[in-house]
């Protein structure tokens, strides 16, 4: 079982590095490699040899390197002219800045949502979602002099809605960050 775990781990990692290929293409690569590995594994089992997944995987090399060989034609498609290294550096810097800005932005919104959800428990009258200006604007949050309580939209529902939104924002942020990281 441990052998199979090792193989699945390898394929999972490979899949992550193949993210730049089209999904169908990446799946095809994975399917072929998986078929090869299990073929060899079964042949070893069939002939009474010691089953050695790590030896098989070694032939494929590191997942990152293997994936690189598959995506090299995309990366190499338009190589920047010599001397343009500086521009690449700047681009990388922008991606890194974007990555951390995105992280700060997403997680702080999620944190704020969780915070108001918690505050609603203790100060139900000061926290909530109000429709203001005859429905032309929506105010969500924590107010020192709250809008009239009877116009509050969600009541106790505010808490689960805010928590759910926070989780959603966290999930989305993480997804975006993963994509950014892959392209860094």
């Amino acid at each position: 079982m441990e052998q199979r775990d090792m193989i699945h781990q390898y394929l999972k990692e490979l899949e992550r590095y193949l993210a730049r290929l089209e999904k169908a293409q990446a799946q095809e690569v994975l399917k072929e490699i998986e078929s090869h590995i299990f073929d060899v594994l079964e042949q070893q089992q069939g002939s009474g040899q010691v089953v050695d997944a790590s030896a098989i995987l070694q032939g494929f090399g590191e997942p990152r390197q293997l994936a690189f060989a598959y995506i090299a034609h995309i990366t190499d498609g338009a190589p920047p002219p010599a001397g343009f290294k500086a521009i690449q550096k700047v681009k990388q810097g922008v991606t890194a800045t974007l990555y951390y800005t995105m992280a700060a932005f997403g997680f702080s919104i999620a944190f704020a949502l969780l915070f108001v959800a918690g505050a609603k428990i203790f100060m139900p009258d000061s926290v909530g979602a109000w429709s203001a200006g005859n429905g032309n604007s929506l105010a969500i949050g924590f107010f020192a002099s709250p809008y009239p309580a009877d116009q509050e939209l969600l009541g106790a529902w505010f808490i689960p809605v805010a928590i759910f939104s926070a989780l959603l924002v966290i999930t989305l942020t993480r997804k975006v960050l993963r994509v950014l990281k892959n392209n860094m």
């Binding site: 072929e32 490699i33 078929s35 090869h36 073929d39 032939g59 090399g61 390197q65 034609h73």
Partner: protein
């Protein structure tokens, strides 16, 4: 590093270069009038001293050859075994192989010619 070790290393490098340079020809030759799946092809290549390559070299190369329309690939499911991806040459592949064979034979011919005519005699100019 001793001189022997250095020589061995240089020889190894040359072998690697030679294998790299001839790999495409070797794969196309192996697939001539034959349809093989990856593992079969790998085992076939590994049975030759000068063509032993790893899985990590073979599969991405097959992927490139497929993208270039030199080989065709097809998934085949036989009985209970898991599906396998079989490779064969396309018409373009056959033409490419013919070109590579010409180049290869010329190269072997030239080298053999040089080897067969050591100094100090003047080298007879070819084609005369």
């Amino acid at each position: 590093m001793t001189i022997e070790e250095k020589e061995e290393k240089t020889q190894e490098k040359w072998e690697v270069q030679l294998r790299k340079g001839t790999l495409e020809l070797v794969i196309l030759a192996a697939l001539r009038h034959r349809t093989l799946y990856g593992l079969e092809l790998l085992k076939l290549l590994q049975s030759f001293k000068s063509a032993a390559i790893t899985e990590g070299t073979l599969y991405p190369l097959l992927d490139r050859l497929k993208r270039e329309g030199i080989v065709d690939a097809q998934w085949v499911q036989e009985g209970d075994v898991r599906p396998r991806k079989y490779y064969s040459l396309t018409t373009t592949g056959h033409h490419k192989l013919a070109d590579l064979i010409t180049l290869w034979r010329q190269s072997v011919f030239d080298i053999e010619f040089l080897l067969a005519h050591p100094g100090p005699d003047v080298l007879p100019v070819q084609g005369e």
